[in-house]
Subunit: 721 residues, 2 copies
Amino acid sequence: MQSEAGAAGAVHGGLAGGALTITFTASQGLLLMIPNMYKIAGEMLPAVFHVSARAIASHALSIFGDHQDVMACRQTGFSMLAEASVQEVMDLALVAHMSAIESSLPFVSFFDGFRTSHEIQKIEVIDYEDMKPLINMEKIAAFRKRAMNPEHPDVRGTAQNPDIYFQGREATNVYYQAVPGIVQECMDKVGALTGRKYKLFDYVGAVDAERVVVSMGSSCETLEETVNYLVSKGEKVGLIKVRLFRPLSAAHLLAALPKTAKTVTVLDRTKEPGALGDPLYLDVCTAFVEAGQKARLLAGRYGLGSKEFTPAMSKAVYDNMAAKTPKNHFTVGIDDDVTGSSLAISGPLDSTPKGTVQCKFWGLGSDGTVGANKQAIKIIGDNTDMYAQGYFAYDSKKSGGITISHLRFGNSPIQSTYLVTAADYVACHNPSYVHLYDLLDGIKDGGTFVLNCAWTAKDMDQMLPASMRRTMAEKKLKFYTVDAVKIAGSVGLGGRINMIMQTAFFKLSEVIPFDQAVELLKQGIQTAYGKKGEKIVNMNVAAVEKGMDAIVEVPVPEAWKKLTDETGATTNEPAYVHNVMRPVLAQKGDKLPVSAFSLDGTMPVATSKFEKRGVAIKVPEWIADNCIQCNQCAFVCPHSALRPVLSTKDELAGAPKSFATLETKGKGMEGLNFRIQVNTLDCLGCGNCADICPAKEKALVMQPIATQTGVQVPNFEFSET
Amino acid sequence: MQSEAGAAGAVHGGLAGGALTITFTASQGLLLMIPNMYKIAGEMLPAVFHVSARAIASHALSIFGDHQDVMACRQTGFSMLAEASVQEVMDLALVAHMSAIESSLPFVSFFDGFRTSHEIQKIEVIDYEDMKPLINMEKIAAFRKRAMNPEHPDVRGTAQNPDIYFQGREATNVYYQAVPGIVQECMDKVGALTGRKYKLFDYVGAVDAERVVVSMGSSCETLEETVNYLVSKGEKVGLIKVRLFRPLSAAHLLAALPKTAKTVTVLDRTKEPGALGDPLYLDVCTAFVEAGQKARLLAGRYGLGSKEFTPAMSKAVYDNMAAKTPKNHFTVGIDDDVTGSSLAISGPLDSTPKGTVQCKFWGLGSDGTVGANKQAIKIIGDNTDMYAQGYFAYDSKKSGGITISHLRFGNSPIQSTYLVTAADYVACHNPSYVHLYDLLDGIKDGGTFVLNCAWTAKDMDQMLPASMRRTMAEKKLKFYTVDAVKIAGSVGLGGRINMIMQTAFFKLSEVIPFDQAVELLKQGIQTAYGKKGEKIVNMNVAAVEKGMDAIVEVPVPEAWKKLTDETGATTNEPAYVHNVMRPVLAQKGDKLPVSAFSLDGTMPVATSKFEKRGVAIKVPEWIADNCIQCNQCAFVCPHSALRPVLSTKDELAGAPKSFATLETKGKGMEGLNFRIQVNTLDCLGCGNCADICPAKEKALVMQPIATQTGVQVPNFEFSET
């Protein structure tokens, strides 16, 4: 297909041949489809492009979500429908197909990349059988009739000269004028089926709102949650959710705006450097000018590259409208200390409906945490009336990197399209993380913290950083440990601790009755592993049963309240490593201000040497006596975490006795000593070295690391905005 | 390079390597560069893309000019400078380079495809030596210093996660804020050098204008010409020419607007179906909202795919603003009989400055007409103080198609960026055209018409259509013939009639003294053909000398005024051929209304059989007695204009005596008669058949076609708008 450019050509060809053809794409891929999009629209072909809207590579690549890609297509003649939640993707994707067929024009159906595309939500699925009667089959027949066909050929793709091209370009205007009405009709039909009603522009909030936000995509969920919260506090605020972005119907937009509106802020999730404002804002300005609408207009930009957009940020947007001199063309979600565009955020705001349980799980990429959490959502979602949501944040290391799972459960619909900032339950599946990350950031008073480790209560003073212990005491947390690695080993599951930690979650979170949870977990094991045989099933069942008994409550001494932070080790690290890399590695990159970054996206080289993670649960121990000096272990290690080293007698003169070496084998090696040196801080515990070792008695054995410490987080100073 | 996508990658790589790299592109090619444009801007690389802005293929391809392609790039972070004329391309392309280097940001420097890119204008060229001191060499050094270099490597093209991408994206805001100031400074520096002053937004017109147009690109020239005309009639009108489109400085835009402005019309040369308006209009709306500017705003679209934009259309835009109920979101230049968006045009308006000589030449593709006209412009431009302009319209047949050359000469600068609509001089280089085209459309009263033909005065009643003769009489035209084909043959130039027709032009147009013109023509011949030897030079000199004597003035009888049109032959042609194809072939496609075209750009097949052009000056004559029946002539004919035919005796029973045939040679052919049948209406006169003929005595001989008639133009009815 030669990239998405070729794929778009295939879509065009399919449509021209009379097949209802669609595609799924995003970001750079969507950009490559732009030329074909003009053609598809120009030829009135009812394609639907489903786009998980994403950022575009500029100073740097971002694979994450914003509207830069879809906004780069808004001029192509495609109609564009925006969805704010997973349920809306279900409902409005159908509307997009119905409308495309009905209007004989192509649609982009888009939703926020990652935030919506990768969120797990319990939704109501519309069956294909229910969709069928909603589709205008006569229109499909007409579409097929005008397809390319050797039985009744026609000419397409002509080259037109100045005399006639303009006229042809204007020939379809009436079809575009009809789209808003068609889309509303299709929304109504889907609404009649599902009970979920949509309008081209949906207003929520106070009927007498004075401050109104206009936005699009997943931000609308967070904004609505915040509006509900603010309205409950008596604030006159509201929100217009843009569904049909193209063709933009100014009449419908203005009709959605309460007459009481004094100030309107338009939020854009894209950036067009050099424009007077971003696209949605320009549209609203134009609609206001044409209608003589007098409300004051402000513009804001948020959420580029999946930058978090939280209730606190939403509130800042509403607060800004109430300010004496509101900021215009502001940013929200960052600290812009260069041009001062950013809004100040006044602390976190927990606007999730009461009764929602919020959980956060810190895992190591490929340790099973994410999979286990997905299963937990499935168990709760499928077997109760509760709503469930999961979102999984990864770093870019994938396997061996960090994973943070954000789960919510509750009896009210979950509109929190942002990471968990106020957790009831935090679990850490890797003990080294206590030094690497601020695990308890945002945990609620009285919340629960579960740590997978082999440490006992009396180890804690030594093993946990002072700040963590102080937080536990100050917030009166319930603190539990599970030695999941030990249990997993004992039941034969190796390093796979997910079933044990999942059991602990169900026991301690009490989202559903624990007995029911255990029953469902066991059913789930049967479903997942039944085909792999009784042995595997039994090992997992044993893990559940041993897991529930292995939970140890650790007392949190009052004295921890008074702890002061350890002084961070002073280092001679380069400024970039200290000022940018360390905060990013510590998951504090959100706090870095604009001035921290180079203008053109360049970064220094050779920085990975400063990143010593120490996250392996098991590391290899070299048993010198067994070693045949073949070096295969060093060859297979994916992270160069073990290396063969030769030393002279002189070099070894001062070595401690425990520093084992061997006489080196081989010609010309006389007088040199051999050693396999393991760097446990670089090791990720994969065990490839031990697996490959060909010695009769293994010279490399994976051992649990008892006093794993990671590398301590240096103290960063962030200026408060 | 794998298309322009690869070229853009090479540009990006060149820049990253520290080379000031630029590219020249347009249309679909520019679209393929969009992904790299984001990267180039994000990495602050001072590229300049010179774009001859062109249409984008939608319902049909158009290779012609409008702003669809550049508008599809306005979100990439490139700054964008628009040029309205050839001189401005010279001046502002330099400004673009200076500004890119100064601002460390990339620029698109664009001008209208074809209208400006293919216009020949006499301009003042800035020498490279004069440019040099204008360039900030320190900035170039700094740019090179931050280039990729193995001696001091850095990392580029990182993948950034949600924590930091947004901040990095905002890091360059101050650089964009600085661009308008930088561009104005660079304009001032170039202005100081050349005396030609530019502003970010240039206002022309009445100081107390009430009706103001905002536009961009070549339309500004025509608009300015029209404004000058209307202001001279006392109308309070004005024009803002947009130079710096991105970053758009609202402050500078508003400052350019006279305080007296009551209504402002924003013209866009692009179409974004489904948007509230086209891009420049959205910008102006936003600028107005933010500044509380109260003037009424209107939007119009014009000139898609190089659709003509004339003073009459410009006037319609100003008239619309004065109307009681002005049209908004109008089109101008077409007849939109579907949605009624188009403005009515009240007849042609000749606003070119007095003393400008306007000329129109009808030629056959590759007959030398265009080359000769370019030479005429060069002769006049180089050797006098006069301004000169040339624009060449072609159909899509290229060689063998139609060419129409539009030339203007005068003592005032020529801002007429539209085809000649009021000609002082019309020359037709192909006699068949008298039936095919409305050659005298728009010729001025008392104008000159020169026809290359072998006809004498007494042939004219028979050879010329009644409408043409009536026009000549009514407008009191001076009518001349030149038998250029005969002269060209006699001096050994074959079918190359360009030198003869050029001589006729200089003699009859009197743009410069004829003696001087002859001298310069001869010098030009020496320069052009000197290397090819004395013989070629002498043939051309002979053509000039014989040409001047061969001009025959033909009397135009008063009686021609009373002629009525011949009735068009009634045909059974398909509706599409009659209603669309015939007008397009007759160069009347501009008059076809929107409703004439299919919605999706499809057209019927097998229509070329209806196009019998009969434009060859010489056609082959088959000399049966010489023919060896090898069929090579039919094999080489590019237009299948001659075919071997076999007939039975029965079939030939009724044939006239002059219908020559031969006994067919070869086994099994007994009883059949052979003939090479020439279709002179399909022949383009290339002579390939005669060249290839292997017979001792040629069986095919090219003969001038004396009574060539073409195919008559049917009568079209266009509703008046």
